[in-house]
């Protein structure tokens, strides 16, 4: 069976801007797929193409084996989505908007399954559905889109930076919801520029840069590409002893502590030599996605944590 989303050599040009530049992306059935990249990398553009709102300049793309541009409205019966920039009709209430969007997706707003799910989500997100949309804050607008997407089941969920504007408590509610979808066998494409979010939620990750996917795989696969960092107390160990540790990179001696990194697939090999040195206060930090990210964007973001916009 074909993958849920398949894109090969996808390009999208806006005049001279090449927003997508030969993008390959495969999302399999049942995956929670993290789509990671800094602002301007082309995440929203990809999603607009997957939803048939924009047409690819070149390349091939299919969703459930169909053409997202030609078969848009048929496909959308199977897709729930949250746009990157949630805008609502100012004089509709939040509750009205949720019902309208679900109805347009083909949901029956009178069905008990729906009204129950809706009530539960409103409760969990602590959302007031009676306010006019114009008076909602950014976070509350985001909740409208979230509830509309989650209250009626879909086969594929396409979320463009779904937690922007949510406070940490609400983020955890969202995390639970993604867990529920994954359990039920749904497929999720989750675009984000927040590493911790993707790290927590996703089974596979594609990293996007300059309109291309530069890295794609499971978190474990990607971790093999990184290094694990070690540190311990120096405690009178000589420079020569330290230089003898096999496979250590970036050795730093600082204020009585020693730190270095090791290729992640060599970690087991190094432990005996540390034991032989009798090191004290050993700390081992597994590679974070952030490091992985920085490897690809180090020059763009200049080493600062990549949460900035």
């Amino acid at each position: 069976m074909a993958a849920v989303i398949e894109a090969h050599g996808l390009t999208k040009h806006f005049g001279r801007v090449h927003a997508l530049d030969g993008l390959d992306l495969v999302v399999e059935q049942g995956e929670v797929h993290g789509y990671l990249g800094p602002n301007g990398a082309g995440k929203s553009t990809t999603i607009r193409i997957l939803l048939g709102l924009a047409r690819a300049t070149g390349g091939r793309v299919s969703v459930f084996g169909q053409d997202p541009w030609r078969d848009a409205s048929a496909l959308h019966r199977r897709i729930a989505t949250i746009p990157g920039d949630v805008a609502l009709w100012p004089n509709l209430s939040g509750g009205e908007t949720i019902d309208l969007l679900v109805h347009l997706r083909g949901g029956d707003t009178k069905a008990k399954a729906y009204t129950d799910a809706r009530a539960r989500l409103i409760e969990e997100f602590q959302f007031d559905p009676t306010k006019k949309a114009r008076s909602y804050s950014k976070g509350n607008r985001q909740k409208v889109a979230l509830i509309a997407a989650l209250a009626h089941p879909a086969e594929l969920y396409v979320f463009d930076e779904p937690t922007s504007g949510l406070d940490p408590l609400m983020e955890s509610v969202f995390t639970r919801q993604i867990g529920r979808i994954a359990e039920a066998g749904g497929t999720v494409l989750l675009s984000s520029h927040i590493l911790s979010e993707v790290e927590k939620l996703c089974t596979r990750i594609s990293i996007l840069r300059g309109g291309k996917v530069v890295e794609s795989g499971t978190l474990t696969e990607l971790r093999h590409l990184t290094r694990t960092s070690f540190s311990f107390e120096r405690d009178g160990l000589t420079d020569a002893q330290l230089a003898g540790i096999p496979g250590a990179h970036d050795l730093v001696l600082d204020e009585g502590r020693v730190s270095f990194t090791v290729d992640s697939d060599q970690v087991a090999g190094i432990l005996p030599s540390l034991g032989a040195l009798g090191v004290a206060g050993l700390q081992v930090a597994p590679p974070s996605l952030e490091e992985l990210f920085l490897r690809h964007y180090g020059d763009v973001v200049d080493g600062t944590p990549v949460e900035a916009s």
């Binding site: 709102l53 924009a54 746009p83 609502l88 009709w89 509709l92 306010k131």
Partner: protein
């Protein structure tokens, strides 16, 4: 900080300010030219003013008779609606820079910087003053360009401009009260229109001094900023002191508003937002339901406007035409212009019908422009990301506009027909003359929809330009001496003129056909392009 904010806003608004100045100049100039060319002699002007003094319904829309010089006629015909225009300009300007910015969060960004809480407001108020001066200069120049005396011209400009200024104050105050910019605009525009009609009632009921064709309006006129503008009586009495009333209203509103603003949170209003429904009613579920809900307010307003116009035309037909005919001179000539040689009362029916059609076409122009507004605001993307197809989304909005304009014309035709007597056209003529405007009106829907599909960013500009030019060519073209082919460009010249001899029905049916083809083409063309949210 104040200076930086002011410069920033001036830069953002410079084109708008310039265009507005130009529009006001042209409007004033056109009225002046009309006065000069249509009622060139003192005798013609006297007969015109005489007609108006016995026709309160005309005074309701125009002003206070103040004599028979060219300037007096200018003040009578032009002051009230030019003042209303300036008021609208300042209402939108102030709302845009106060509540609208606050709503989109721009104010929070500024308020959290070193700018004082009130610095943005001072910058907006200064901008309003600058806009007032621009209006003043533009209108004064419009008068001077017609060779009117300088003192009166400056006072005419000041009267209209200060009416606008007073409403800048009113809007600034309303912006403190209501949390949504739409509500602020809605209230301010309503109050402006009310003040137009308050002075209208005063003028319609005024005491006429027949010896010199002047009038003293009822006291109620003094409640209206437009009434104050008229009270300057430019070219006749040249009174300056009524300008102080507008200034005072501006000052009082501003002081109160600043006091409120200093005490409230950014984003909050004094009046709470009304609650909405917790769940959608069945009528909202669907794209037509959505379009209807979004258009409802403006649709009702336009339909009432069309009915009111038709009603006025239908009920006035008898008396106005009699008086115009007996008064002779320029006024009758004006009507005859449109008559195509038929009896004068039928010419009046024809004008009334075309005028109703023009108003109704605004419904279609606005309805098609709504497509673009929805696209900008991403309502389009939200709907098109669901199972609703592009054709369904587009046709829903177009359908609501089409049905709205058709309903307005059918109701307008019924009302005008019922109110007219057999001497002033009769039911049959009025009803069908107005209903046959429908093909012309639908043309606007088709044209603007195609522009939306092909050149989305130009939708509003082209839409209103097409609308404005059709009116200009259709209504005023002959008066302004434009070549005959220009009036052939407007759809209204191709509807069967039921009131006149030998109506041509082909044109009507052809336009219905063209409209359907244009709408179908627009749907197909829209399916070829990306949606383009964001202005």
């Amino acid at each position: 900080m104040y200076g930086r904010l002011l410069r920033f806003r001036l830069r953002r608004d410079r084109v708008q300010l310039l265009v507005w100045g130009l529009v006001l100049f042209l409007m004033t100039y056109t009225v002046g030219t009309e006065v000069r060319t249509s009622w060139g002699t003192a005798a013609e002007r006297a007969s015109m003013v005489k007609v108006m003094t016995v026709t309160p319904a005309i005074l309701l829309f125009r002003g206070t008779p103040q004599g028979t010089s060219e300037g007096d006629l200018m003040a009578l015909l032009g002051m009230s609606f030019i003042a209303l225009l300036v008021m609208f300009q300042l209402v939108f300007l102030v709302t845009r820079h106060t509540r609208a910015e606050e709503q989109t969060g721009q104010t929070e960004t500024i308020a959290s910087t070193v700018a004082g809480r009130l610095a943005p407001s001072y910058a907006v108020l200064t901008l309003a003053l600058i806009a007032t001066v621009i209006a003043w200069v533009a209108i004064t120049l419009g008068c001077l360009a017609n060779g009117l005396p300088a003192g009166g011209s400056a006072l005419f400009g000041a009267g209209a401009a200060f009416a606008g200024l007073s409403f800048a104050g009113v809007t600034f105050l309303l912006a403190q009260l209501f949390p949504a910019s739409r509500t602020v605009n809605g209230w301010a525009v309503t109050l402006a229109v009310v003040s137009y009609f308050v002075r209208g009632i005063g003028d319609a009921g005024s005491t006429i001094h027949t010896e010199n064709l002047t009038a003293t309006p009822l006291w109620i006129t003094w409640l209206s900023p437009i009434g104050w503008a008229q009270a300057t009586r430019p070219w006749a009495l040249n009174r300056v002191w009524p300008l102080a009333l507008g200034t005072l209203l501006f000052a009082v509103c501003t002081v109160v508003a600043l006091a409120i603003q200093d005490r409230r949170d950014v984003g909050a209003g004094v009046m709470a937002e009304r609650k909405g429904r917790p769940a959608a009613p069945g009528s909202l579920l669907g794209t037509v339901g959505l379009a209807l809900r979004l258009e409802r307010g403006s649709l009702i307003a336009w339909i009432i406007a069309v009915i009111a116009t038709a009603m006025l035309m239908g009920s006035l037909a008898g008396s106005v035409v009699d008086q115009l005919a007996s008064a002779g001179g320029g006024a009758a000539a004006m009507i005859e212009h449109f008559g195509g040689g038929g009896p004068i009362v039928m010419a009046f029916v024809n004008i009334g019908a075309v005028f109703s059609g023009m108003l109704a076409s605004a419904i279609c122009v606005q309805g098609a422009i709504r497509l673009r507004q929805e696209e900008i605001a991403q309502g389009a993307d939200a709907v098109l990301s669901t199972a609703a197809s592009r054709a369904k989304w587009m046709l829903s909005f177009l359908l609501v506009a089409a049905v709205g304009s058709i309903v307005s014309l059918v109701l307008g035709g019924l009302v005008a027909g019922v109110l007219s007597t057999s001497a002033s056209g009769g039911f049959h003529t009025w009803f069908w003359a107005i209903v046959w405007q429908i093909p012309a009106v639908l043309m606007f829907l088709g044209v603007v929809a195609v522009v939306f599909a092909v050149l989305p960013r130009a939708t509003a500009g082209v839409g209103w330009a097409v609308f404005g030019l059709s009116i200009l060519f259709g209504m005023f073209g002959p008066l302004l001496g434009m070549p005959a082919w220009t009036s052939k460009l407007t759809p209204f010249m191709h509807v069967p003129a039921i009131a006149l001899p030998h109506p041509q029905f082909t044109g009507g049916w052809v336009m219905v056909g063209i409209s359907v083809v244009l709408v179908a083409a627009s749907v197909l063309l829209f399916r070829l392009r990306d949606t383009k949210p964001g202005a």
